[in-house]
Amino acid sequence: MFEFIAKRFLWLIPVILGVTFFVFTIMYFTPGDPVRLMLGANATEQQIQQERDELGLNDSFSVRFVDYLKKVFIDFNLGNSYQTKQSVTDQILLRFPFTVKIALISVLLATLIGVPLGVLAATHQYSWKDNISMFGSLFCVSMPSFWFALILVMLFSQKLGWLPSSGIKSWTGYILPCVSIALGGAAGIARQTRSSMLEVIRQDYITTARAKGQKEMKVIFNHALKNALIPIIMTIGNMVGALLGGALIAETIFSIPGMGVFMMNGISQRDYPVVQGGVLFISVFFCLFMLLVDVVFAYVDPRIRSQYKSSKTKRRKGIRKYDS
């Protein structure tokens, strides 16, 4: 296990370099000039060129890329934002906690709704319960998310006045954004839970558990759900992973200072240090998170755990081939 984790940490290096290169290239070829945006219409061409020189924007691709790598990996400095002049690292450290909070709360909510719904649908396949929960799920994933968010605001802030319409100055501010994100996620989790439960429920060991005289509820939750967990965790993990990049829509609508809006502004203002630093940070975090997901897999499933063990494990081909 340790070896596996260490290996994955080593993998971070090429990934980080790859991501840096990738984002750098995209931004390099993206038309648009950050300096014009900084200085406005009244700046003369000379001023513009001077500023570009200062920022090193007139250098060639390779010089700029190498400079950036030096700055990031030798000085450990992501630079300052062109637009706000604030340190990118500080800004990220300020915003990322919000993003993480929103991501975790929404995913928790989505899981709490999605998993039971999926189990219900799977255990009552083709019954009205199945149909309603699946149609409901489909309905939810099919809704444009900003539309849904705006509807939530109209209802809960404007009409009922229960919750603030924006901002996160108190915990109540987290409710609407998290609900708006969680809904689609819950639907996705419910669908995944259903299909992986359906698969597991048909396995012989479930019949074995029933044949022991075990109660149906326990068969479903102790035996079936635990075995169906891997793809469900995968879905949940992917959802968190995607949200680590920020929940742009929810952040915009509910005025949350998260990574999504930060990156979005960076992109639209061609604030290269922000975009590059932000993506780098997010992707490192993403990789670490995916590593965590893999560790969770190993925790959930002893078969996966044993694959990571470096000791010589017995491998049998057995009858795997014929029993599919």
Binding site: P34, N42, Q50, Q91, L94, Q158, G167, P257
Partner: protein
């Protein structure tokens, strides 16, 4: 970063207070649409303007009616048009306790040169001669006579040399000025809280604490006003103005600002607009009122001259015939006479819905004139690159403004500096000459007089055309005595709940 997490008491308090009105309310929540970004003296953007106006002060400011209001200068004396002596107010303290001296003033003026954006305001200052006479006397020299110089100087805010050098991040997140409010709390991207400065030389303001909440989604600002989360909304979304106006729970103020929606015409060979008659015909065919109604729900003002009527140098004499007439028939005839027969016209916009709506009407008008127009939308970062490449557009929409508040100043920047239209030749030389004369005139009145000539040249050649003068809109709690401070800004010290 300077941040703190929650201070719920304040938002929720505001919600409650809204209902049990009688108590004295000394806190305000203001909705703004973007983060302030850099808070030192070099900041930019709307939100910055709202905030820096409370934190920093210059020697003098331009007030509600663009009148000059003394601030850190108690008085001044004009020796001649390039030489002034300022008396600095005594006993003024910075937020960090430092005392204001003339040295700080000189320091701040020199500081301005460091910034690519702000150095234009002190470009005319002759720093060789400018000097500190004593702690409270500051002698300022200009390089040459310039009608706009004094206005420009109102943009120079004063910081303490000691504080500036001590600041770890050049005050980007820790602004220190002499203004009536100081920074209390700032969460990047979310809110900025200012609190009144108890040692302010002009006495303490009635509102003790002001929170600027960033709400980027326009309709959410209105919602926040409705739910009582904010009491003042800067820049109400146009589509909500009508709704708020008909509702007696809110007051709405519309203020024609210096901005206008304009377009450049491509005067280079490759474009149909290289022909002067076609340009003029186009001007005659356009119905600015219709564009105002469609793009701005009628809350702007139809353009009457190349720049906004709110500019300081604007006068009725500038109103041009191409602006006031809408005569498609005449326009068609002119196009026929010009010998230009149809062609493809590319309209470039920055993709905002107002510009697109305007572009769509322009497209219609052009097709009536026999041209095929296509609309290309670019994002705001690329529109600049597109603008400087005249092969990519024929009509380029743009919001124009002038930092100094003078129309000719802005025309000089757009047509003389940028000159995306590619205006050349004798008329262009005349335009430049006239600009120079206007700006260098020995009195404001003389300057304004000359400005009319500048405008006439532009109206004749039509490299640029102003469609709509944009209005800034503000919605607020009726108990607030809100007024728009110069240049679409805000002066919190004068505000109170009644």
């Amino acid at each position: 970063g300077c941040s703190s997490k929650k201070n719920d008491a304040q938002t929720e308090g505001a919600v409650n207070e809204n209902e049990n009105a009688p108590e004295v309310r000394d806190k305000i929540n203001i909705a703004v649409d973007s983060d302030v970004g850099n808070m030192n003296v070099f900041g930019s953007g709307n939100t910055y303007a709202y905030i820096s106006n409370q934190i920093y002060e210059g020697l003098f400011a331009l007030g509600y009616d663009k009148e000059v209001v003394p601030r850190l200068a108690e008085s001044w004396e004009e020796i001649d048009s390039t030489h002034y002596i300022f008396k600095i107010r005594k006993g003024v303290k910075f937020h960090d306790g430092n005392d204001l001296t003339a040295n700080d003033v000189l320091f701040s003026y020199k500081l301005m040169q460091e910034d690519a954006n702000y150095n234009q305001y002190v470009i005319n200052v002759d720093f060789e001669k400018t000097k500190v006479v004593d702690d409270y006397t500051f002698e300022l020299y200009f390089k040459e006579q310039n009608a706009y110089t004094f206005t420009n100087l109102s943009n120079v805010n004063i910081v303490s040399e000691a504080s500036w050098t001590a600041s770890p991040d050049k005050m980007v997140t820790t602004p220190i000025g002499t203004g009536p409010y100081k920074l209390k709390d700032y969460l990047s991207g979310s809110y900025i809280t200012l609190e009144s400065f108890s040692e302010y030389w002009g006495g303490e303001p009635s509102i003790k604490e002001a929170t600027f909440t960033v709400i980027a989604e326009p309709s959410q600002k209105t919602t926040a006003l409705e739910t009582g989360e904010v009491q003042l909304v800067m820049n109400v979304q146009i589509s909500d103005i009508g709704y708020l106006m008909t509702n007696s729970d809110y007051n709405v103020t519309l203020d024609t600002g210096v901005q206008s929606l304009s377009f450049f015409l491509n005067m280079n060979e490759n474009s149909v607009f290289s022909n002067k008659q076609v340009r003029q015909a186009f001007g005659y065919a356009l119905d600015n009122d219709a564009i105002n109604i469609v793009a701005y729900d009628g809350y702007g003002k139809a353009g009457t001259a190349p720049f906004s009527a709110a500019m300081k140098d604007y006068s009725e004499k500038m109103v041009g015939e191409i602006y006031t007439t809408t005569d498609v028939g005449k326009a068609k005839k002119m196009v026929d006479e010009s010998g230009v027969d149809g062609g493809v016209v590319k309209i470039a916009t920055n993709g905002t819905s107002a510009q697109i709506a305007a572009a769509e009407i322009i497209q219609n008008v052009l097709s009536e004139l026999g041209f095929t127009a296509e609309i290309n939308n670019y994002d705001s970062a690329t529109i600049w690159n597109v603008g400087s490449d005249p092969t990519q557009w024929d009509v380029l929409l743009m919001v124009t403004a002038s930092p100094s508040g003078y129309g000719v100043d802005s025309m000089k920047a757009f047509l003389g500096g940028l000159n995306w239209s590619g205006w050349k030749g004798e008329s262009f030389d005349r335009f430049m000459q006239l600009c120079k004369e206007t700006i260098g005139a020995n009195s404001v009145d003389a300057s304004n007089e000359k400005a009319v000539d500048v405008v006439k040249v532009i109206e004749e050649e039509m490299p640029i055309y102003s469609l709509v003068q944009l209005a800034n809109s503000y919605a607020f709690d009726p108990s607030l005595n809100f007024r728009v401070w110069n240049a679409s800004s805000l002066y919190l010290k004068d505000l109170k709940f009644e």
